[in-house]
């Protein structure tokens, strides 16, 4: 099980890093699309904290079965993939200076990165599931608790 555990740990760390970037991209998509909405709707572009909260509080949610080990830290973005490099660009800091079509362009890029990452993440969830199935199977067959490893 040691080798199985280390594969599981690597897959989970990868999933953690991807989820961190993905959720940040969700936040960017919310803010960019809300900015376009505000400009078109004549709400001006006063970026009050309330407006930010309104934009970020949306989006689907709902929890998937309690699991421990959901880390709360900034993942080191390895930048292996283009989608992760998008995170390192600070375009939101320049939002006040961007024209409408700049924002639309940016939205397209961020959304396609988000899709790419979500697909990768889905595959990782499947890998994690099958590794966990295998480890759980060993416990059902009488694997002892690794107390010496705690």
């Amino acid at each position: 099980p040691g080798e199985l555990r280390s594969r599981l740990r690597d897959a989970r760390e990868e999933e953690d890093a991807i989820s961190y970037v993905r959720r940040n991209l969700h936040g960017r998509i919310s803010l960019l699309s809300d900015e376009l909405l505000a400009r078109r709707g004549g709400r001006g572009t006063s970026r009050s904290v309330d407006a930010l909260v309104g934009a970020l509080g949306d989006g689907p949610s709902g929890c998937r079965g309690a699991r421990q080990g959901v880390a709360l830290r900034a993942s080191e973005v390895a930048g292996r993939r283009g989608a992760e490099r998008v995170l390192s660009e600070a375009h939101l800091a320049h939002l006040p200076d961007l024209g409408d079509d700049d924002i639309e362009h940016l939205l397209e890029r961020v959304e396609s990165s988000e899709h790419e990452l979500s697909e990768l993440r889905r595959r990782l969830h499947a890998v994690i599931d099958s590794l966990e199935d295998e480890l759980a199977g060993r416990y059902k067959n009488g694997l002892e608790l690794p107390l010496e490893r705690l």
């Binding site: 919310s30 930010l52 929890c63 079965g65 421990q68 959901v70 709360l72 705690l150």
Partner: protein, 252 residues
């Protein structure tokens, strides 16, 4: 050429009243609040509203921007995330989010656990806790369900290590650390970890198994239910009872 982020920070650092720099920094890092809200919410009951968490978290982000000291070698995100999470939990606590009656019942249960642990020289069963408090078994299970919901917000963390606030090592953080690659750095955290592992070894079989499978193997409660042959909600109660037993034992 758009201004570099480092230059916006520099501008804000030199003049904290520069509204333009401040607004751009808040805009730039606001998505972090969505990330933290998603993860904090994963540990809370579904009744907590995502938008509320985001608004509490935003306060933490703004405070982090104002307090960030660029001379320290840490990345802003690493500095900000604990503060965003902290302000979410502080606001939930201030809202008295967990009803007093629920907390009182939880405290009563902890007192019964303490008393029986010392008289029986082992952890009491649910039935023994029910007899001690003169309530039905279902009432004990309801209280265990309530404590699961309260966990990161209202349960006082009894395992204190250092003297000042900053040194306190929370039981839940130490448990969460069990699955981590590198154990806690501080020596106090190492002592707490040792004491926790001894306490885990003294749990009854099924509770010890739930704790190890949940915190060390990182399985979901549903999967643990499948391994043990019980429902997920039953696993949640076993988990809550085990954490209560550990909490009381570590407080000694």
């Amino acid at each position: 050429m758009p201004e570099e982020l480092a230059d916006i920070w520099e501008r804000f650092f030199k003049n904290p009243r520069d509204q333009d720099a401040r607004e751009r920094l808040i805009l730039n890092y606001a998505p972090l609040v969505k990330f933290v809200a998603g993860r904090v919410r994963a540990a809370l009951p579904p009744s907590v509203d995502q938008a509320d968490l985001v608004s509490y978290g935003m306060l933490g982000l703004i405070e982090a921007i104002e307090r960030f000291d660029r001379k320290r070698e840490v990345k802003f995100e690493t500095f900000a995330i604990p503060r965003i999470r902290g302000s979410m939990l502080d606001e939930l606590r201030a809202l008295d989010w967990v009803p007093r009656s629920v907390r009182a019942k939880g405290r009563e249960l902890a007192q019964a656990m303490t008393k029986l642990q010392s008289t029986l020289r082992r952890d009491p069963t649910e039935e023994e806790l029910a007899a001690e408090l003169n309530v039905a078994l279902d009432e004990i299970r309801d209280r265990l369900d309530a404590s699961a919901a309260m966990s990161i917000v209202a349960l006082e963390d009894i395992t204190t290590v250092g003297s000042e606030e900053g040194d306190r090592v929370s039981l839940l953080d130490t448990l969460a650390d069990l699955g981590a690659e590198q154990p806690g750095e501080a020596i106090e955290a190492e002592e707490t970890r040792r004491a926790l592992i001894e306490s885990i070894e003294s749990l009854v079989d099924r509770e010890r198994k739930v704790i190890v499978l949940y915190y060390f193997e990182g399985f979901t409660l549903a999967r643990i239910g499948d391994i043990l042959g019980v429902t997920e909600s039953r696993v949640s109660q076993i988990h809550s009872k085990a954490v209560l037993a550990l909490r009381v034992r570590m407080a000694e």
